[in-house]
Symmetry: C2
Subunit: 353 residues, 2 copies
């Protein structure tokens, strides 16, 4: 069964199928006759031919564009190159861009689709766990500036998300774990039963048990879809998805995005956000211990290196979600109620050090 | 009396007032506390100090950014520089970008506002006739690629448009005339009474009679607001605003945007679109003659240089609005009914040559 992200006219399905079936399934939700598939030079090796063949088998005209793998590609310069290619390939307002890859490919392809001729259709075909459970769903697209990540972007919902769980077989283990951090997040912020399921099945997930992965991804997408459906442009509830991300982003920025993967930084961020919630008596010691235990079980870090507090604070106050220099954390209580909390630097210091 | 562009939650006023009153009037429709005013090094000399003083008098924090005047600035590179400045100045999601200037400043500032942190507020303060009657209203924002104009952009409605007619006193005459082409367009596509008023008052407009200009701008904005209110993202009716623009764009592109101003190219485009309508017996010889006469009265060109037909055709088929290489013209009949017509190359050739 597909999931649906309910956004009125902009509703779209999250389709679980083989890459070979993608073309056929897309005929249900995309009217375009021409696709530009964007991928990176890593994913290209594994799946580009398959997706092109699948699209062409349905009569679609397909052109492709390959960018270098890695966060370094998520720039306005790369976006400009892709926009120029779209023009050269003759994409018009009825064409569709397909993002085949992880978060970088999805984000930049979405930005290109959002801005080419003021917006054309696009579909996400995520091939990493992180992209499958998080970045491919919800319509947030962006590129980086040298000074800040995801600072230039748009809300541009895809027409469909195609998830082939088998693509995770080619994913490096560290990348699998980084995706698990977001999976755990959904259990913490929204669903006690799922949290307990994760505790039982974490070894299966790490061992690439396809059925377990499929369930975890579906449940994660379900939760994200429900939240995005209620608050598309993050006026309120959607900010709960930032649980663990305020400190996480600061740690990533502090280490120049080199030391931690996104999920590792978020894992540490979730631990400290939970500690703040514990100190505020919003959650029990038991829930806090369970969170810590599950993160460890996923092979993710729970503590960070000894950075001077001033440097951490500086990054926290310059976060995109900060407001007039005030630090905002997404917290949840024992019953998974979301609280958007302003945290005083002293409170952060007492928890972090 | 202000005009309102009716777009539900995104409705906004077109406010006619002195630049000195802009700050006070903006307190009614902008919640931001911080403005980044973007202008060019030409308009800067005349109005930047005034607008800053007016904003600061209301307690707004104001930062400014000046780009070189001219179409050459409307690039992704300039946009990137502005986005970096916004970040350096500490603009957050609650800040507002104000575009002070003509179409280039309005388009690129709007693009920056549409993409900075996935979209922040912006206001338009147009200082050219073309921007006051056309580009500042309707939310189309964009930058150019070397290969094509306005190809990268978004729909991002301003929170308000501030029109101070007196700014036209510093506008070069050729720029005044280019704006008059769009004013005439509104009379042709939508309002017989306005068309007749223009015929009577064209000399007043050219002589910078402030009352006449104010009326012409208001009526033009009213017509554009009504059309945009019915069709924000150009699914249908809004395309009537492209009257004269299909050939106009081709002529601009053929001459590398150097020979004709936008309005001059549109004027010629309107003549030939009218000729097609005449040949199709959609309009009378009399209406055609009146259109030609009014365009001449405004000091605008009605014929174009002798380009090889193949070159014209090539530009027409690569237009952003072309569809699978088919050429689409916006036409109107005698009763100002809009017809979106596919025009065969033979028909174009017979009219143009």
């Amino acid at each position: 069964m597909d999931l649906i992200v309910e956004l009125g006219k902009r509703s779209y399905p999250i389709i679980f199928c083989d890459i070979d079936e993608a073309g056929q399934r897309l005929t249900e939700c995309v009217k375009s006759k021409k696709f530009m598939v964007i991928t990176d030079d890593n994913v290209e090796k594994y799946y580009l031919k398959d997706i092109c063949r699948s699209l062409e088998s349905q009569g679609y005209e397909v052109v492709t564009s390959v960018i270098p793998a890695g966060e370094e590609s998520k720039t306005m310069e790369t976006a400009k190159g892709l926009l120029q290619q779209a023009l050269k390939y003759g994409l018009d307002r009825t064409s569709c861009i397909a993002a085949l890859g992880g978060g970088v490919v999805g984000d930049i392809s979405g930005f290109v689709a959002a801005t080419y001729m003021r917006g054309i259709d696009f579909v996400q075909i995520p091939t990493t766990l992180l992209a499958q459970v998080d970045s491919s769903v919800g319509g947030k697209v962006a590129v980086n500036l040298p000074e800040a990540k995801n600072i230039v972007g748009a809300f541009h919902q895809p027409r469909a998300v195609i998830v082939d769980v088998k693509t995770l077989k080619t994913l490096p283990e560290r990348e699998l774990k980084t995706g698990l951090a977001e999976v755990i997040k959904y259990g913490v912020i929204r669903d006690k039963g799922f949290f307990q399921w994760l505790d039982i099945h974490m070894e299966d997930l790490l061992a690439l048990d396809m059925e377990a992965l499929k369930y975890a991804i579906k449940r994660s997408c379900e939760i994200k879809a429900e939240i995005v459906g209620q608050d598309e442009t993050e006026q309120g509830l959607r900010a709960v998805l930032n649980f663990g991300h305020t400190l996480g982003h600061a740690l990533e920025a502090l280490t120049d995005y080199k030391k931690y993967t996104h999920g590792e930084a978020v894992a540490i961020g979730m631990v400290y956000a939970s500690k703040i919630a514990l100190n505020r008596k919003m959650i029990s010691q038991q829930f806090y211990d369970e969170i810590l235990k599950l993160i460890k079980k996923a092979g993710l870090p729970t503590v960070f290196d000894d950075f001077p507090f001033e440097e951490v604070l500086n990054k926290l106050t310059s976060d995109k979600k900060a407001y007039n220099g005030r630090i905002i954390f997404a917290l949840v209580d024992e019953n998974r109620n979301f609280i958007k909390a302003e945290i005083h630097p002293d409170e952060i210091k007492s928890v972090l050090y």
